[in-house]
């Protein structure tokens, strides 16, 4: 379970996260939606113990992430937005390194690597240097690295980036499997239909604040819109702005 209470993060004069509070239950997929620069990634980095909050508290499975960042990292699987893996290592080397640092048992690591390598179909790349792999394959390696220790909480920042439709479907199935096992998942994305498809609840973050929260149906009711894209534009008060730009573009053709 994840509990975020009155979270604030300030970078100099910029308040990147402003009084964010939400909760993700066990066995729930929570979607964090928001425009670019809205504070999604910063919130997720605080949850994972990578950044410290300026104010507020985050508890992951009852562990305070700012007080015990390494204990939180032990229970979390985190797929960051940008894939900055060791380019000079092979996925085989990287999985062994991650397994060693996380203290995963021999048999468990072996079975989990083989399971995910088959699922994501990257067997032929196991001994290829990561630096020479395509973006999509790097993303698969990043996802597998986050899943190796069977985390009880999974945090994915734009986790579907670079995946082809077949792999995206496989990842969705893995996420549903995690959910069925009672694990908490936070999924941040810009792809609104995807969020609608997989998330139980959505939190809409705008200018560092959670401006709306609920199931897709609740958000539709809240904004009186019938599709999720319009819900997003309505709630972030950007619908008129977008329509204006679209109109201007049409006129310049």
């Amino acid at each position: 379970m994840i509990e975020v209470k009155r979270l604030k993060k300030r970078f100099g004069s910029t308040l990147a996260v402003d009084d964010v509070t939400f909760k993700v239950e066990d066995g729930e997929i929570y979607g964090l939606l928001g425009p670019n620069g809205s504070g999604k990634s910063t919130t997720l980095k605080i949850l994972t113990g990578i950044l410290k909050p300026t104010f507020g508290e985050v508890h992951v499975d009852g562990i305070n992430s700012s007080k015990h960042p390494n204990r939180v990292k032990e229970v979390i699987g985190y797929v960051p937005e940008s894939v900055d893996l060791y380019e000079s290592l092979t996925p085989n080397d990287l999985f062994n390194m991650v397994g060693s640092i996380r203290g995963i048992e021999h048999a468990q690591l072996n079975s989990r690597v083989n399971y995910f390598v088959d699922a994501f179909n990257i067997g032929q790349y196991l001994h290829q240097y990561i630096g020479t792999m395509s973006f999509g394959n790097k993303q698969k390696v990043s996802i597998i690295s986050a899943l190796l220790h069977d985390p009880s909480v999974l945090i994915m920042d734009e986790g579907m980036n670079g995946l082809d439709p077949k792999m995206a479907k496989i990842l969705r199935e893995i996420l549903f499997q995690f959910k069925d096992e009672g694990k908490s998942i936070i999924f941040s994305t810009h792809v609104l239909p995807l969020a609608e498809m997989i998330c139980d609840r959505l939190g809409l973050i705008h200018e560092g604040k959670i401006i709306a929260e609920g199931t897709v149906e609740e958000l539709k009711d809240m904004s009186s819109q019938s599709n999720i894209e319009d819900v997003f534009l309505e709630l972030t008060k950007s619908k008129d702005e977008v329509l204006g730009v679209v109109e201007a573009l049409k006129n310049t053709r």
Binding site: V98, H127, Y129
Partner: protein, 487 residues
């Protein structure tokens, strides 16, 4: 453009620096570290201080032979610094992706920008020899001006060889790790050593010719011994032109090769591809060491930086083996020297992380595990060098074997002192602390003091006990620092 790239490099470095916590401090730090003029000036001042000390001997030296002796050894400093800095920085700049935004732009010879950014860091090394040049100008104006040009040649030669190492060994990309990867890496190291050893080889031939042909000794033809010609201006000028005629085309050739390698690295693949997962679990620290060595194994030019103790030890051992005399005092001095230069390896071993630090931060890795892993990684090469030296020394004098415990512990002590200093901040955050020439010199001094304490029994005691007591002191100091790091 160089200024923009320099700022970007230091911005990226400041971002990974765990000593900088909080936005206010970060902003202050990036403002400081991105200030090119300030950095160069600050580091140059320290080097100037060292340079002034050495220049004194040129003033007081009575004969010209002594002066050229000092100049020749002095010229090796900017040469080695330039070589070291170029090989390490070239690899680091590329791994940080500094040149990625330039790739889509119509840039003719982008390698010149890499050379420019690296050259900024070569200025302090050059400043070190300025007092000697000034002293020479007072002594013999024309020779002084020639000395200045020879020192420029020293920096240029180191830079060209460094770029050459990077272009030849650091840019080929192997697609897959084949079964012969380890062997290939070993061959790369040997190739690298031969390449870097070219100058020592040439120096040896110079001595050989001098001894057997005699007349050549009056016309030393290859840097750094060619510096001996500064009191014969015409000969010196001819030799200078000869060096520039060779170095400048090589420089532009390297720039071209470096840039084409950045734009499109040559990728090779083995015939057969393995698809099985080969599991190998280790403790976090061992797995970090293996990771560092694997990454460095692929970044050959970075390996050049890690092999620094070898460049110090090899010529010294070579001279002693050639003379057939290896005394215990000599060997003790060399063992401590190799121990001290372990500090320099911190630069390469920290820069291994590049942009991947963000990935490492997602793992539950403690600061002490990270720092100790780095300390042990940087100790490996000096330990092997030391063991090799002792092995060779035993052939000449059996008692050298008593130095074996020191050979194994001194690099670890130096590395743990280095990491304790760099990771002295509170908290568990891991990252890449700033490690510039200023810090390197400071750490050389700190390690020097620590080694002074370790050496006390050897200096003041007799018998075999001193060879037991001395390593025990080193182990004690290392353990204290380890516990402090763990706190």
């Amino acid at each position: 453009m160089v200024k923009i790239l320099y700022r970007e490099l230091h911005y990226q470095m400041a971002k990974e620096n765990p000593m900088v916590s909080g936005e206010k401090e970060f902003n202050k730090q990036i403002k400081k570290s991105m200030d090119m003029k300030r950095n160069v000036l600050q580091q140059s001042m320290i080097f100037l201080l060292f340079g002034t000390m050495t220049a004194g001997s040129i003033f007081v030296a009575e004969d010209e032979a002594m002066v050229v002796g000092v100049l020749t050894s002095l010229a090796l400093i900017p040469f080695v610094l330039s070589l070291y800095q170029t090989t390490i920085q070239a690899s680091f700049l590329t791994s940080l992706g500094i040149f990625e935004p330039l790739k889509p732009l119509p840039v003719e010879l982008g390698g010149k920008y890499m050379s420019g950014v690296i050259s900024v860091d070569l200025i302090p090394g050059f400043v070190l020899v300025i007092p000697a040049v000034v002293a020479m100008v007072f002594r013999a104006p024309l020779s002084g001006i020639l000395t200045l040009f020879w020192m420029i040649v020293a920096v240029l030669a180191g830079h060209v060889i460094g770029l050459g190492v990077f272009a030849l060994f650091g840019q080929k990309v192997m697609n897959y790790k084949g079964s012969l990867s380890f062997l290939k890496n070993v061959l790369k190291v040997i190739g690298l050593l031969l390449f870097m050893g070219l100058f020592f080889g040439v120096m040896y031939f110079q001595e050989y010719f001098a001894a057997y042909i005699g007349t050549v000794a009056d016309y030393p033809f290859v840097f750094p011994v060619s510096l001996a010609s500064v009191f014969e201006p015409l000969n010196s000028l001819i030799l200078l032109v000869f060096h520039l005629v060779i170095l400048l085309p090589l420089y532009f050739l390297s720039l071209r090769k470096v840039w084409s390698g950045i734009l499109e690295p040559a990728i090779t693949s083995p015939g057969k591809v393995e698809t099985d997962y080969k599991i190998s679990l280790r403790t976090p620290i061992v797995s970090m060491i293996l990771k560092d060595l694997k990454v460095i194994g692929r970044k050959t030019s970075m390996m050049a930086g890690l092999l620094f103790p070898l460049y110090i030890a090899l010529p010294q051992m070579f001279l002693r083996v050639r003379d057939g005399r290896i005394s215990m005092v000599d060997m003790t001095y060399l063992v401590f020297l190799v121990g001290i230069v372990t500090v320099a390896g911190a630069d390469a071993i920290l820069k291994v992380e590049g942009k991947s630090m963000s990935f490492l931060r997602t793992l539950p890795l403690s600061k002490v595990q990270f720092a100790l892993g780095k300390a042990l990684s940087m100790s490996i090469v000096p330990m092997f060098v030391g063991v090799g030296m002792v092995g060779l020394g035993v052939y000449f004098s059996v008692e050298v074997i008593y130095l074996l415990p020191l050979v194994l512990i001194l690099p670890i002590t130096a590395a743990v002192v280095t990491m304790s200093y760099l990771f002295r901040y509170k908290g568990e955050m891991i990252g890449v602390p700033e490690f510039d020439f200023k810090k390197m010199i400071l750490l050389f001094l700190i390690v020097g003091v620590v080694f002074g304490v370790v050496a006390l029994p050897i200096i003041f005691m007799g018998g075999l006990l001193k060879y037991i007591l001395s390593p025990l002191i080193a182990i004690f100091i290392t353990s204290i620092l380890y516990l402090r790091l763990k706190r």
